[in-house]
């Protein structure tokens, strides 16, 4: 493998797993959103790395779509967080179970 590409992929894998761990452990919905961002960024990094390995611009074009999806996800997620915490200030992700009848 040429140059640092393996290093980039390793870093991407580490970042992805760190984000997954945070998503599973943390209960503050905002911190969970941040962990999702970490995972999406890890994927972006590996897309760019694969793009440069294959000498293809498409790897960079796809990152744009990931970026748009991430922005949309954050906007809707924050809307849900605001709507939930208006009814229950200081709600954590576990408190969503009160939705059960």
């Amino acid at each position: 493998m040429e140059g640092l590409n393996a290093g980039y992929l390793m870093l991407s894998a580490l970042l992805f797993c760190m984000g997954a761990y945070g998503l599973l452990v943390r209960r503050n919905p905002l911190v969970m959103l941040m962990c999702v961002e970490l995972m999406l960024n890890a994927v972006n990094l590996s897309f760019v790395t694969f793009g440069s390995m294959l000498d293809d611009v498409a790897g960079q074009a796809i990152v744009f779509f990931v970026l748009v999806v991430a922005a949309a996800e954050v906007v809707v997620g924050l809307g849900i967080v605001v709507a939930v915490s208006r009814r229950r200030p200081g709600a954590t992700a576990d408190d969503i179970r009160t939705l059960r009848g």
């Binding site: 040429e2 943390r26 294959l54 000498d55 906007v75």
Partner: protein
């Protein structure tokens, strides 16, 4: 292919990897959500530098502008709106064995990914080098990405417009204050609208 690595690129990579992983560690472990957001800024900035090191100049700029400039600011804004004094109790475990299970899942995932990278070696990317969208050194990165975006991926590009519209409408619908949580009282009281903080808000548990 020469396997020698440019020392400047190697140093840049290791410094940025340090910043990225330190920031990610801060996001996952810090009790204060504001500190998590600052760690996220460090991570995103490090990744922007790594994009730059890989010749994706446009993406590096977009990363700083969109992620650290818009998304993190949006998260911080909501954080401030909901109150910054809430500290997470990181040690508390509502589900028994949650942390152990999360560590197991994360390490298993990491093991699989690292194994893939090592076993794959130089064949980790399948497929041939691009002929239609090859990265050419004598054309600017922005021009190349823009051309690909508006020719090969123009349909996906149009769909993202739809997605963003849906997201904006959804956010407005979600964050709009409903007129009242109670069922409507008799029509006579509609003449004088009641002040907003309704019964339900007052009795919600404060932290």
């Amino acid at each position: 292919m020469n396997s020698s690595v440019d020392p400047v690129e190697a140093i840049t990579f290791f410094l940025c990897a340090l910043v990225v992983m330190g920031g990610a560690f801060g996001v996952v472990t810090s009790r204060n959500p504001v500190h998590s957001a600052l760690g996220l800024v460090a991570t995103l900035f490090g990744i922007a530098v790594l994009f730059l090191a890989q010749g994706a100049q446009l993406l590096a700029a977009v990363q700083v502008i969109v992620y650290t400039g818009a998304i993190v600011v949006l998260i911080l804004f909501v954080l401030m709106l909901l109150g910054v004094d809430t500290e997470d109790d990181v040690d508390e475990e509502p589900l028994v064995g949650q942390t152990a299970a999360a560590i197991f899942v994360a390490l298993g995932l990491l093991g699989l990914l690292v194994t893939t990278v090592f076993v794959g070696g130089s064949e980790i990317v399948t497929g041939t080098k691009s002929t239609t969208a090859a990265i050419s050194p004598d054309e600017s990165n922005i021009a190349q990405v823009g051309r690909v975006l508006f020719t090969d991926y123009v349909f996906a590009f149009e769909i993202t417009a739809l997605l963003l519209t849906i997201a904006v409408v959804g956010a407005v619908v979600l964050a709009r204050r409903p007129r009242s949580y109670e069922p409507m009282p008799e029509p006579a009281s509609m003449a004088a609208p009641e002040p907003f903080p309704s019964q339900d808000d007052a009795e919600g548990s404060v932290h």
